[in-house]
Symmetry: C2
Subunit: 133 residues, 2 copies
DNA sequence: TAACGTTATGTAATAATATAACATTTAGAA
DNA sequence: TTCTAAATGTTATATTATTACATAACGTTA
């Protein structure tokens, strides 16, 4: 989606490109370290870009890891409904794209009558690779 | 469950009782502040008790808030599968006890064939009270 | 273009959350 | 009693995130 990237500001694009290239979730201070050569020197510059990128759905925060990954789901532009699989051994994280799951959760309503347009689901287990060991 | 509480160590019980009485999730340093009069003086003492209490399922961590609540689900003793409703206005958090949901998620398996015995789901929205305003 | 409001940036300081390392004590089991 | 695992105490430090304030860039429209 080149279009969307064109709308990113300088810092936002630098940081998004870095996260997007990373095979694993990146932590804020690791991002900071990696972009210092590009002139981004302070934590706040990183956190501001992260906040914006999360807001527009280009990246997601993996809450249990305090780390960020690029959205792997092209249809998930303003991503209020997210699901991830996390390997507890190698820490590989994959965004789950499953329409049935999304539908089930979006339609879920609890016994208080509260219903939800937003959720975050994190599954934990062992990935194929780690299971074999 | 008096039985389970009897197994808690001194620090664990002090901290569990505090969280259990709290109407809202508690943060670690707020817990620390509240138990200093009982002799728990250092963050690590709090975090160790929290770790243990989470491990045995007496409390859960609300990942998106870095806060802890007592398990509200008596059957959820070693709680690897958790679901919460979080009000984005007043920050009220409720543990969701819904067997159908639990079954659905426990049986969920993604397209990689990975399956999961553990998950954490956080729903966001407005509670009844906040919706009225 | 000029003026305006909004968004983004720069910088320093500090707050909030969490862990490492090491010594000692306590509680149970053998 | 002796041994071991779990829990505690203490200090220091690492990691994650925000406050406060000043400046610059951008996009709109008069
Ligand atoms: Zn996504
Ligand atoms: Zn793995
Ligand atoms: Zn529970
Ligand atoms: Zn509310």
């Amino acid at each position: 989606m080149v279009e969307k990237q064109l709308n990113l500001s300088k810092n936002q694009r630098i940081i998004f490109d870095l996260i997007d290239k990373s095979p694993e979730p990146m932590k804020a201070y690791s991002i900071l370290f990696n972009v210092q050569k590009k002139g981004i020197k302070a934590p706040l510059q990183v956190y501001r870009a992260l906040d914006k990128l999360v807001e527009i759905g280009k990246i997601h925060k993996i809450e249990s890891r305090n780390a960020f990954i690029a959205c792997q789901n092209s249809s998930c532009q303003i991503s209020k409904t997210t699901a991830f699989s996390i390997c507890e051994s190698c820490e590989k994280v994959t965004e789950i794209k499953d329409n049935k799951l999304a539908k089930y959760l979006t339609n879920f309503s609890d016994n208080t009558g509260m219903n939800y347009k937003k959720y975050n689901l994190e599954f934990f287990g062992l990935c194929k690779k780690c299971k074999r060991k």
